[in-house]
């Protein structure tokens, strides 16, 4: 029997396998744990947290598109204090690395959030979301300006001792520029990609279908764009990448790994069927078995020239 090693490294952190939940699509783990044993995952990334509690956007917040979904949840969350008081104690019970996704309207917001989370060793890292298309006057704007990406990263880096992951926006002309700015700013890891900005129109009502007009496109539809960005970035930065966008199967995950991602995150697929999260791990293992590959590292970046 072939011994298959699925472990992977994100900076100083070793994950037992490369499959992570994508932020915002798996709550804070509790509900997901009713369907699968979340400790079998490589890591858990929780819903985006903001300085203040937030009730999110108007309904409807979700619309279906061809092989994709548009969401405009709008970062509904209990705020940093609510998170630390109510959610973190529950999360601390699980034996798996946890990443906390944070969102802000200013550099100060991000620094404040990072400082608040710094004292908790039960958190393995923070995912700095400079790419949310669903908050007004900010959010995505950070992720479309490389000097802001650099500054946010640098300031957060100063105050946060754990792993700093920069989650970048795909709604840019040059993703490599943004990734390099994050690397220069001192990020440990890059997450690619957040949702593509999109919209849908309800032709019966002659109005945008989402209450918030625009939403973020996720799911299989965006996979080709996501794989392309991972591939472009992987050959230009040295820090590891968490690849995501439309992963539904082990084959999809392997595409991202071969494009240069060291781990993958799964969002929309978990919403459609939480069991897929574990199935993806199994399918990666099966692929390796069939191809006599014993270490995940032998797959990572294989398709780069």
């Amino acid at each position: 029997m072939l011994e298959i090693d699925l472990s992977t490294k994100l900076a100083s952190l070793e994950l037992k396998n490369p499959v992570i939940t994508a932020s915002g699509t798996c709550g804070f783990g509790e509900e997901l744990n009713e369907y699968i044993d979340i400790e079998k995952l490589g890591a858990l990334t929780v819903k985006g947290i903001t300085v203040k509690a937030w009730s999110g956007n108007k309904q409807p917040r979700i619309a279906e598109t061809p092989s994709g979904i548009l969401n405009s949840i709008g970062l509904e969350n209990p705020g940093i204090t609510g998170f630390i008081d109510e959610k973190l104690p529950v999360l601390a019970n699980y034996r798996l690395p946890v990443f906390v996704n944070i969102s802000g309207h200013s550099i100060d917001d991000f620094v404040f959030l990072a400082e608040k989370l710094a004292p908790y060793p039960e958190i393995s890292g923070i995912e700095v979301n400079v790419s949310c298309p669903n908050i007004e006057g900010g959010g995505m704007a950070f992720g479309t300006d490389s000097s802001l990406v650099y500054q946010v990263t640098r300031e957060v880096r100063k105050v946060y001792p754990g792993i700093v992951i920069l989650k970048l926006s795909p709604n840019v002309t040059d993703i490599v520029e943004m990734a390099q700015a994050a690397e220069e700013g001192g990020a440990d890891v890059i997450s690619l990609i957040n949702t593509l900005l999109g919209m849908k129109i309800d032709i019966k009502r002659r109005k945008p279908e989402l209450g918030n007009i625009f939403g973020g496109l996720s799911g299989p539809a965006i996979k080709p764009v996501a794989v392309r960005m991972v591939y472009q970035v992987a050959s230009k930065v040295k820090i590891p990448i968490i690849g995501m966008g439309g992963i539904m199967s082990g084959s999809d995950a392997i595409e991202f790994l071969m494009a240069g991602a060291s781990a993958v995150a799964v969002g929309t697929a978990a919403m459609v069927n939480p069991v897929l999260l574990l199935k993806i791990i199994d399918e990666i293992r099966d692929f390796m078995k069939d191809n006599k590959i014993t270490k995940l590292s032998e797959i990572i970046g294989q398709a780069l020239l």
Binding site: T25, G27, Y35, K47, A63, S67, I69, I73, G219, M271
Partner: protein
């Protein structure tokens, strides 16, 4: 995640379909107000991507059958309507909290608007054993009412109907019917249907200090509490229709 065999899937009017599926062995506790989240894409296809939430219309533990009543309104329900006997259907569920059903010897009002009557049927069957029930049904026209009138009458409940075009029962909406009832008489009220109807009913209930429950609908992403797509406003703050709901005490819901 479950997969069940479809026992039948019949068209009962132009756009209404009734599906009977085998209830999987490991599912014992199916309550009125629960729903299933059904997969509608075929093998190897990622489109349509999302599941479709459909309420439990009826449940028969003896024959091991779950009944779903659905209206063909878009591509998901159109796909459902093409499923045939012995096809497999994949779903998550039963999901949601369900209605309160531990009443005895009470006078209870059920009010259903359009397809909102679907989940009330199983509730009606369960409650009618030990309570006195009145059912008010509203719809656009006769076509949307005949089936419901028949099945609810068979439970022994008193049934009244209203149709917008006047083709069946009272000409007008179901709220008119409600006003015609002596609403003080009722101990509890259940309703499911369009928001404008629920809103008016809530106003009425507040006036008369009547208690009860609403089953709500919102667009869903996951149906299991992960994504916050489906929240509604309540006095307790935002609540997930798929998880804390779909049934809420009527006095807690905040309509915009």
């Amino acid at each position: 995640m479950n997969e069940s065999r479809i026992k039948s899937n019949i068209q009962i009017s132009e756009n209404y379909f009734l599906m009977e599926i085998e209830s999987p062995d490991d599912i014992k506790d199916i309550k009125p107000g629960h729903f299933l989240n059904l997969r509608v894409n075929s093998i190897n296809s990622t489109d349509p991507l999302l599941r479709r939430p459909i309420s439990i219309h009826d449940y028969n533990p003896e024959s091991g059958s779950v009944f779903l009543l659905y209206k063909r309104v878009g591509r998901g329900t159109e796909i459902l309507s093409t499923y045939k006997k012995d096809d497999k259907i994949n779903f998550l569920g039963p999901l949601g909290n369900g209605f309160t059903v531990d009443f005895k010897k009470k006078k209870i009002l059920l009010m259903g608007g359009g397809m909102g009557a679907a989940p009330l049927y199983y509730l009606c069957r369960v409650l009618s054993r030990e309570n006195r029930l009145t059912v008010l049904l509203g719809a656009n026209d006769k076509d949307e009412l005949v089936y419901f009138l028949e099945i609810f009458k068979n439970t022994g409940a008193e049934v009244h109907s209203a149709s917008i075009d006047g083709s069946c029962g009272h000409k007008g909406n179901v709220i008119d019917l409600c006003l015609m009832e002596n609403i003080y008489d009722y101990d509890y009220i259940y309703s499911c249907g369009p928001v404008p109807m629920l809103k008016e009913l809530q106003k009425l209930a507040f006036e008369k200090d009547l208690k009860g429950e609403f089953s709500l609908e919102e667009r869903m992403g996951c149906g299991i509490g992960l994504c916050l797509s489906c929240v509604c406003k309540t006095v307790k703050g935002n609540q997930r229709v798929c998880k804390e709901g779909p049934v809420f005490p009527l006095e807690e819901v905040i309509f915009e």
